[in-house]
Symmetry: C2
């Protein structure tokens, strides 16, 4: 697995929330979980985390729900870092504590460019683009 299940849910949930936000609608846990096919309460926890990490905004009470600031540029890398941290892009592929550029593990040189590319792809992918592609190509979220 490249991303944790939590992180997969987080990305899909954020895209759905952004989707609704573009129509100036807030959306709730039940709706999000239904839309992306994830366990409801668990999704609630993840959304909560995303709010803490400033990826999403939320409002309590009637007319409340989750939403994104429509102007902000939000990239997939932000969500990945918020949920899984940065380890995917930095920690040694063979699990060696002291692996580094100066003291590389046997796979370091082979893997570094690949994970850099992965980071680049997540970094240059705005959530808005996923939203647009969702509409254009009938992408699905579950």
């Amino acid at each position: 697995m490249i991303l944790s299940k939590s992180c997969e849910y987080a990305i899909r949930a954020t895209v759905y929330v952004a989707l609704k936000s573009r129509k100036n609608e807030k959306t709730g846990i039940i709706e999000v979980a239904g839309a992306i096919g994830s366990p409801m309460h668990f999704t609630g926890k993840i959304l909560q985390t995303l709010v803490h990490k400033k990826i999403l905004l939320s409002a309590k009470g009637p007319t409340g729900g989750f939403y994104v600031e429509n102007g902000q540029d939000l990239f997939l890398i932000d969500i990945v870092r918020a949920i899984d941290g940065n380890d995917l892009f930095t920690s040694c592929v063979l699990g060696l504590e002291k692996c580094s550029q100066t003291q590389p593990c046997p796979m370091h040189e082979q893997v570094k460019p690949i994970r850099d590319m992965l980071m680049a792809e997540f970094s240059k992918k705005p959530v808005t683009e996923l939203v647009e592609e969702f509409h254009k190509h009938k992408y699905f979220l579950k």
Copy 2:
């Protein structure tokens, strides 16, 4: 994490076993765990699995231990598949069940070439090369 901890141990353990095999020596659980800095009993389980999957050979009793057939060409991908399976290279990065070439998820096109490259690197890396590099460059296994 790209690979599970078990898989990291498995690769490092296999390299160490191959290292000893080149000197026609068998090695035991305690020695392997010491050499790669892994929990002993857990390492035993992993070595056991590697034997089942024909990655390693083993012999019981005095003078016994783990070893590799010196002629066989064994690649890192074989170890990865034996322990973690093939999901790393195939399962959808956003966790969508039906994601495929014909019905791709929003990240499919971006991620596919990257994971193909990763698979290629593991596929073309023989364990013997890690052994040689270990000797040449003073690579470490823990």
